[in-house]
């Protein structure tokens, strides 16, 4: 997803939103415009995220994998060591449910972490990513992926017109 990205710094949400509107009118696809901000902005405030969020399905899958692992752990232990303790049946249902539940929840948590990191695009240490630490001073970095110099020029004009500063092309992934 790397290529030429035009970026511009904005002091507030409203000028950034105006610039994003102008970029969409160029036209640039919704998925090629994003912001870097020190806090979450509501979806649609400046740009929209057209991609669906798929990792809750992985959470569910993690739950089922965990449940199977828990069940296997409990049943496997009973069957490997078929010793009667406390007058309980070799395969006892309530303890099996408890172990299955705990390991299932662990699986769901692990699924959420792994899929969450993946969908958020974290851990890309070798990829050059667009970033500007000045967002931590309260600024918003508007980024637009463009194809070609002409589109880049028009995008930079749109950002400058809306009040963007330090508008420049950069190379890297969004």
């Amino acid at each position: 997803m790397s290529g030429i990205v035009v970026v511009g710094l904005f002091d507030a949400v409203d000028p950034a939103a105006a610039a994003a509107r102008a970029l969409r009118a160029l036209p640039l696809p919704e998925g090629d415009i994003t912001t870097l901000s020190p806090m979450a902005l509501p979806d649609g405030a400046v740009c929209r995220d057209p991609r669906g969020i798929g990792f809750p399905k992985v959470t569910l899958a993690g739950w089922f994998v965990g449940a199977l692992a828990g069940l296997a752990l409990a049943l496997g232990t009973y069957l490997l060591y078929p010793l009667i303790t406390g007058g309980k049946a070799i395969v006892s249902v309530p303890p099996t449910l408890i172990i299955t539940y705990e390991v299932a929840m662990l699986g769901a948590l692990a699924g959420t972490v792994i899929a969450g990191f993946r969908e958020m695009g974290l851990c890309r240490f070798r990829t050059r990513l667009i970033h500007d630490p000045r967002i931590q001073e309260g600024k918003i970095l508007l980024c637009a992926r463009v194809s070609g110099d002409e589109q880049a020029e028009r995008a930079m004009d749109a950002m400058r017109t809306a009040g963007g500063v330090d508008v420049r092309p950069e190379e890297g992934a969004l």
Binding site: D49, I53, T59, L73, L83, I98, E102, M105, M120
Partner: protein
Amino acid sequence: MNGSDHLTRTDTGALYRELSRSNLPPTGRWYAVAGLLLLVTLWGVGCFVYMMKTGMGVTGLNRPVMWGSLIASFVFWIGLSHSGTLISAILRITNATWRAPILRGAEAMTAFALMVGGLFPLIHIGRNWRFYYMIPYPNSRQLWPNLRSPLMWDAVAINTYLLGSLTFLYFGMIPDLAIARDHATGWRKKFYTVLALGFRGSHNEWRRYHVASTIFAILIIPVAVSVHSIVGWDFAMAKVPGWHSTIFAPYFVTGAIFSGLAGVVLVMAALRKVYRLENALTTVQFENLGKLLCTMSLLWGYFYFAEFLTVWYNRNPEEWEVYRSYGGHFLPLWLSMVVCNFVVPFPLLCMRRVRRSIPALCFVSFLVIVGMYAERFLIVVTSLARRNDPFIWHNYFPSWVEFSILAGALAMFLLLYTIFAKLFPIMAVSDIQERLFQATDRKIGEANVESIAMPHDTGKGGHG
């Protein structure tokens, strides 16, 4: 804006500097405190090694009281760990606007209390070097983890909760680690760069971060409830008078949340004082925690009365003897429990003046901690001390070795917290920033009121 008027969205750098005072280079005083805590921890470790080498005879444990202060401390610390993650998760899901300043401190409390609490069964088992018998592994010696034993449920549940809580703590910290990375220099910059995992605050990252946080919060709540239910079942599954009760699981969960809330109040007050966080941790947070504490005090009183009434009316001789001992040898402990958990906290916390006074709230929270420890001790010890056969009744008092281990555990908890506060953002800066961003002052008639924007996620295909 509740005392935080000057923390505005456009001054994010100042906000970070104010909230990250704990990350400043350590002073001589910090080294002195950390050194003292380390010494006490080492003393506790030394006493544990002495106990391990000499045998359990150096403790006050004797038949029939084979579970004493170490198991009571295990229950207490696991209980203390409850409110951090649980409260944080509940507040996240309900989108409570006052939550942001207490999230991180509470979540860290959970992680460290669990680490400390989880050590106690290992300390208690006597032949400590054989702890790995609990881990399922193939062997030819007929050693197997008995998954029909509640103690094994405990091992599985506590490990799940510990891993979940650590993940919850770390995941919630990622945006703040990114902020710290962008402000830091030297080795800290490298440290935060690795831990922030390349988080930059893109729209895509924020949206997914919020969904993942919500899912985490939803998942961690039933895990937290199950952990203390299982700790309750450790006792309730045994046919010991005073333990064998169906009410134990919810009663333990209630007690855990109660003591955990008191712990959160004390930790927050300490952070506020030490790192001068008065603008972030305002009376609003403390008053709301006070309200929750008041509710839990009432709930605890209700559960205890329900349990007591059943035994009192039934007068099953074996169970009644346990309760009778509360009026004898264990009277000071029983009085501490009732007075510190209900008689004093409930009426005091009903008063707004007390809830809004941080010293008063800390006093009540301290009482609750004392009362809850007394409750754990009574549950564990009394039932064994007055078990079935009067000829074997025996009173128990912890030895100096046990007291040393308990002091070492407390010091270890404080030391871990102190180091954590020095290395990591102790305040959820991005959450506070987001809340300030969403808040505006609005005029209704002649009154100025704070108004919070609650954005809907209108993403085309996404969850939100």
